[in-house]
């Protein structure tokens, strides 16, 4: 065998391995949307949907850019830039506007966005959109939320493309990451606890996505389930996020009623540590919740023991 032939073979082998790698990556990162058959027969309730919209803080990210249409009315037109370590996103218009909003989406498209992090055309959304938590919501709740969004006034806005280097390739990378990092959803009821506590746990961990900031992450950027809500590095690099465990033991709040009051009013009533690092926008959204929902959330949080 001559040297030239050997190097040609080696080159072919390397190309073969690379092609197999690309094929495997493409296969592993392919979108896996839910079929429309997962949609149950469900009389969607937009009022329950509004509760999920508020506790989910959709508007905190999907708000209008300063001085642009929708800012004054609080419509979730999604033109405000959302900076992340990957680049800047424009979350998108959640009103039922046909051209630039969700007006032409079907219910299953919305379910796939929230439960699978997938666009109607199969693109992977970045986890800057916290579908990583929202996917723990039952389909019925997603349909209620979808019904609520359908009641909003349609507002057309200019759409802006995310400023992320190598965006299409990066979206494929997100697909691979989902394969590695997103296991089955683990959010179980605790039968030993009451109705309100279980409701609070659900609100905090699924639609409320409190863990996206308050739970530390592992090497794969997954929330660490053994340290749920124990505080950690801020996802956008703004210092540290406080723990929500042992709030009573640390004297932060007297009882659940006190915490509910803090979440309702925040600094308006002189409660500190509820304004920086994105918490202000969350607290303002939570302030719209009905008393019973806020009290359930507070009851769950106050029950968390320090680790």
């Amino acid at each position: 065998m001559t040297g030239a032939r050997r190097s040609r073979r080696r080159w072919l082998a390397a190309a073969g391995i690379a092609a197999a790698g690309v094929a495997a990556a493409l296969w592993l990162s392919r979108p896996r949307p839910l079929p429309a058959t997962v949609l149950p027969a469900h009389a969607a309730d937009p009022r329950r949907g509004e509760v999920l919209y508020r506790v989910g803080s959709c508007h905190a990210c999907h708000r209008a850019a300063p001085g642009e249409v929708g800012e004054a009315t609080g419509a979730p037109v999604g033109t405000a830039p959302f900076p992340t370590p990957f680049g800047t996103f424009y979350p998108g218009n959640l009103t039922p506007a046909p051209e630039t909003g969700l007006g032409r989406w079907r219910a299953i498209d919305f379910v796939n966005a929230m439960a699978r992090g997938l666009a109607p055309d199969g693109r992977h959304y970045f986890p800057a959109f916290p579908y990583t938590s929202y996917r723990a919501m039952p389909v019925e709740d997603l349909l209620d939320l979808w019904a609520y969004l359908g009641t909003l006034e349609p507002i057309e806005v200019g759409r802006r493309r995310a400023q992320v280097p190598l965006l299409p390739l990066a979206r494929r990378g997100v697909g691979l990451w989902k394969r590695l990092a997103l296991g089955p959803v683990a959010l179980e009821r605790d039968p030993a606890r009451g109705e309100a506590w279980n409701r609070g746990a659900y609100l905090a961990l699924a639609p409320g996505h409190c863990g996206e900031c308050h739970t530390p992450r592992d090497a794969l950027m997954r929330l660490d389930p053994t340290r749920s809500l124990a505080g950690g590095a801020h996802p956008a690099g703004e210092g540290r996020v406080p723990s929500l465990r042992g709030l009573a033991a640390r004297g932060r709040y007297r009882d659940a009623a006190d915490l509910a009051l803090a979440l309702r009013y925040g600094e308006e009533l002189g409660f500190d540590k509820l304004s920086s690092g994105g918490m202000a926008k969350i607290q303002v959204e939570l302030s719209h919740l009905p008393d019973a929902e806020l009290e359930a959330l507070a009851e769950y949080l106050m029950s968390l023991e320090p680790l």
């Binding site: 210092g239 009013y265 600094e267 308006e268 009533l269 002189g270 920086s276």
Partner: protein, 153 residues
Amino acid sequence: MRTLRLVCLATLLVSLPFAFAALAADGDAGDPITERQEAMKKVGDSMKALSGIARGEAPFDAEVVRRNATTIAESFERAAELFPAGSDKGAHETWAKAEIWANRADFEAKLQAGHDAAVALQSVTEEAAYRPALGKVGQACRACHDSYRRPKE
């Protein structure tokens, strides 16, 4: 003669701690980061007293309200100078965000809003008007901390 010496010595001994205190205060005054954090802590203490009334932990007392609202208003009056250019870093840890110096006009507008809300609160004498007026002050705190303060943990 001896009494004079004793008096001198006593004066010296008594005044020494004051002299040191003055020196120490002078040393701190050179650092805008500690100064503004002290100012904000004072504002925070006043806010605690005020929110105690709103939460029903203390009775409504127009004089207590006026005094604490004045402390807040006066602190905000001179707070802008405690954020000189370049003080996003320093010998002391700071939670002020660099955006303050990129958006100076907006930062000062938010400071002004806090000042104006505190001034409006000073003259509240009716309990019914108290809670909304306090809320306006709190909204000003929240708006600025949302944009310009990092969480401290």
